[in-house]
Symmetry: C2
Subunit: 205 residues, 2 copies
């Protein structure tokens, strides 16, 4: 189970076991090659139990997407935990670190494949719209707080957050679809952006 | 043919006709639902002629990807055409305009779906790696020139270009996978980044 992200490592009940099986089947076959049979092969219980919970592959994959996004969102630090400045830094570090563990890459690859389905399927688009909104609100809250306490200048928090969500989506996408992306370069330019356009003058290094 | 990007509107020879048919089949069925039969239905000539040119769906789709990327790259302005400053602005405007024509969205949707295949298929990853490199080199050349003529500060052109390619990839991805992306916000923050971290002091507005 070396390739299992932490939240999938210890499934609790049949539903979570199905989610873990779906994750592994997606990793092995990709979205385009996925069948219920392939999911059943990763599932320790019976195929009929799969169908007891989900009518078809479509329903199962949408439930899986909702589950992945929930788990992803549960991992995002919330307002109380860190200073606004540190929160932005943590999010950027997490996405742009040079030494992401292999299971993080695998998780990203599945997310990128599922997101691409939204180009053709409104149900996926709806979920990613909500996800992006959650992520943007979370970042905007950190920026708003930073403006209030004087760490940041009087910027437009929603606009900055929309920019950062776009940058992060690009980083996640490129990381698993293009070789040799210089994450350190992206991280350093993101820091220059934060430094030059966000940070209040008196907190400059 | 209202949904056909300009470069596909006037196919020249059988190969290009197959590319156009593939494009329309991808738009209708998505990557996961695509069959050679679906491509044949969009193709005015015979299915056997399809197989004369391409052994299977896999080979055809890889040829299609190479064709799309070539056409995309041919549309990127090169060094001689504009001032460095304007070139950066044009690229950002093109990707982040609020009023993209429907055919541009359709083209993007196909690109995003094909890019996601790179998460699971090294042949796709190789093509997108080359594509990203082309795009990055093109932007880095504009920035390097800007540094030389004094429009830009003494920044690291490769690093800035990597950052911008990442931002642009994110913008393209979100545009077709998430509703209500505020492209104008992203464009304005990108401009603030360029203004605050790139533009030389004496050319500030």
């Amino acid at each position: 189970m070396g390739e299992t992200p932490p939240f999938l490592a210890d499934p609790d009940g049949t539903r979570e076991e199905i989610m873990v099986a779906t994750y592994h089947a997606l990793r092995t076959h990709g979205y385009a090659g996925l069948t219920v049979q392939a999911i059943a092969e990763e599932f320790e219980k019976s195929k009929s139990l799969l169908y007891h919970h989900y009518d078809d592959k479509d329903e199962l994959l949408l439930a899986f997407l909702a589950y992945m996004l929930e788990e992803f969102e549960a991992g995002v630090p919330d307002e109380a935990e860190e200073e606004p400045d540190e929160r932005l830094g943590s999010v950027l570090d997490e996405v742009l670190t040079e030494s992401a563990p292999p299971e993080a890459e695998q998780f990203l690859a599945v997310m990128v494949e599922l997101r691409a389905q939204a180009a053709n399927d409104e149900r996926y688009e709806e979920q990613f719209t909500q996800h992006d909104r959650f992520f943007r609100e979370n970042l905007a809250a950190a920026i708003r707080e930073g403006v209030e306490v004087g760490t940041f200048r009087d910027v437009n928090p929603d606009r900055v957050a929309e920019f950062l969500v776009t940058l992060i989506t690009g980083a996640m996408t490129r990381q698993v679809t293009s070789e040799g992306v210089d994450r350190d370069a992206v991280r350093r330019e993101a820091e220059r952006y934060v430094e030059s356009t966000l940070r209040a003058e008196d907190t400059h290094e």
